[in-house]
Symmetry: C2
């Protein structure tokens, strides 16, 4: 038996977060049970956890040990919830812990007492039974906290670079670049000598990245933003961007500045713009408003959704394995994550904590330890 | 010597259209000179001809035989004109006429006195010297008027279907579907039994397409538009769209209705939407306003520019040749074009005519005959 965090959307438009006692399954031959000790709260977890609820309506009830959080989902957003109504969803894409029991196969048995990371969902649980192929054995001396974010951010950052290469680009643009993921991407690009144009929203974020050896950092709040961005695009030749923001004018601005940077190399006029393909991948929704495209950059462009999971399906397990091996090899350097705070499952449902980690735009990053004493 | 229509953007933001006498070059071994007798005014020609000029500022001067039209280009739009400032541009993507002289090669000589179509630009000229590979010999009994629109619309329509197939879709959506091009696409789809969802903007256009055996025609002005479109998407399974409009909410609405139609086949809930890729290609700019994407359709989507020329480069000359052969074989049926009016070069520069053919949104389609008596 163990506690598990659940997110429930009810037919009447109410969101309910609570902790439930769940049976820990006996592992099958190729499965292990992990006592989860560290699981990050990623932006991708917030989406599943809080659905489309209006965070101004959050209310707490229940006890200190077993809190219940409720909120209202605007009626207009309920349509997109149809698939999950009245089905309690466990949360937590990834995490790490110690294997406490294992199925009969030698590979499963070999993991007993080992510290492993796993990407299997439902990681905000005290015990989690997963297939061995979902596990990554961590090197000796690695703590669960150090291995908690092995997958989502590292594979997303590496996936961006892999996508860039496979689609024939040689440098890339990243927005919300001061995020945990953005800093990681910058470390990879510095190490691998890949041209990276970081776009941030404040002078402080610009300085942070500069202090981490970033070469190109454009601040979208600066009056010189368009020139700064264009100059960085000329310097790097970047024609692909990964955008965490989604809403507003930024995706289109990037395409426009790319086109301006490219016309320097084109001699013949074409009213259809340059023939050089410009790509923006939207992989996040920090701004839930509409994406506004002015289309003042010819016809050789594309704005598309991008997600880690379909990307991994596309490149196949062998290529994914290579990426994972790199993550493990550089877990304490390139792929190190820092956390603002470690919380228990019950603490994760406190309104004052939600107010901090729920603000997607800040640098605050929480780590859930489901086996930490219930109330800290 | 012969007359040629020229479009000139001046440094001071003035657009000038005029007729100039140009030398007819002596054809090289692999070239022929065509006396152009029919060249359509396509939307793609209007863009080059009128640049970004404000059509409310159009003014006429010059003589009846040699008119000059001037207009003002808004300052904000001049940036995108940089490549063509002070360079007079000839206009006219495609046309047909009779070969009046030819270079020394047997292939060139074989075309003398033949009626040919050509896609070479500068077709609003009395005489046009082109390479033989740009020519398509028309079957005996075909008039220049019948062959004038051999390329742009037919190859665009076939290119959409080819793109659909190559990208793994089995049915398609088309906007501004009552256009000349749209009616042509509908004839191809009826003949080849391909699922086509036509989107139009009026009840009259809906009836027009219905009278031409179109199965699915959704009228975006109808209050039931979203349901009508979704139903047609369910019936056809279309997951790719070609959008001539560009601006506004329509591209996003199509993606949203596609996603709704697809969720019927998906059993497991994912807050990232279905994994089925949805594509909108923007190939026109009937609405020059921004494209507004609400992104309420998961992450498996793409909105991209699409143009005939890069598409042809991509599939290569052998594949293009096959498409051209089909056009010639069905020139008087599937690929027949109808014209509202035939005008001379001088008439094409009359303000009252520009007021009609310049309105991209109407069904009015003009044919320029550069060898028609100057003023009709």
């Amino acid at each position: 038996m163990g506690l598990q965090l659940r997110s429930l959307v009810k037919q009447n438009g109410e969101l309910e977060l609570s902790l439930v006692e769940v049976e820990t399954p006996s592992p099958q031959a190729d499965e292990v049970v992990i006592r989860v000790e560290a699981s990050p709260i990623n932006p991708s977890d917030l989406g599943l956890m809080f659905a489309a609820a209006d965070t101004n309506t959050l209310k707490q009830s229940g006890s200190r040990e077993s809190p219940v959080v409720k909120a209202t989902i605007p009626e207009a957003r309920m349509k997109s919830m149809a698939g999950r109504v009245d089905r309690p969803m466990p949360v937590g894409n990834e995490g790490a812990g110690v294997v406490v029991s294992a199925g009969s196969s030698p590979q499963a048995q070999a993991l007993v007492r080992k510290t492993v990371a796993a990407m299997g969902g439902a990681m905000y649980s005290q015990y989690r039974c997963v297939k061995i192929e979902q596990c990554l054995e961590l090197p000796p001396g690695t703590t669960p906290a150090e291995g908690a974010s092995c997958f989502v951010n590292p594979l997303t950052a590496l996936g961006m670079i892999e996508t860039m290469r496979r689609e024939g680009h040689t440098a890339l643009v990243h927005t919300a670049a001061a995020s945990n993921l953005g800093q990681m991407l910058n470390r990879i690009c510095v190490k691998d000598k890949i041209g990276l144009v970081n776009i941030v929203r404040t002078k402080e974020q610009q300085q942070l990245l500069k202090s981490q050896c970033a070469v190109h950092v454009a601040d979208s709040s600066a009056p010189t933003f368009v020139q700064d961005l264009t100059q960085a695009l000329v310097a790097t030749g970047a024609t692909i961007a990964f955008d965490a923001i989604g809403g507003g004018e930024l995706a289109g601005q990037i395409l426009s500045c790319m086109e301006t940077s490219l016309t320097r190399f084109v001699t013949e006029y074409s009213r259809y713009g340059t023939g050089i393909h410009k790509q923006v991948y939207v992989y996040g929704t920090l701004d839930t408003g509409p994406t506004v495209l002015q289309r003042n950059y010819g016809f050789a462009w594309s704005v598309s959704g991008w997600l880690l999971w379909p990307f991994m399906n596309k490149i196949g397990p062998a290529a994914v394995q290579k990426l994972k091996e790199r993550v493990v090899a550089e877990l304490k350097t390139t792929f190190a994550s820092r956390y603002t705070k470690e919380v228990s499952l019950a603490e994760a449902l406190r309104l004052d904590e939600i107010a901090i980690y729920g603000k997607r735009a800040t640098g605050a990053k929480y780590l859930v330890n489901p086996n930490k004493a219930v109330a800290g």
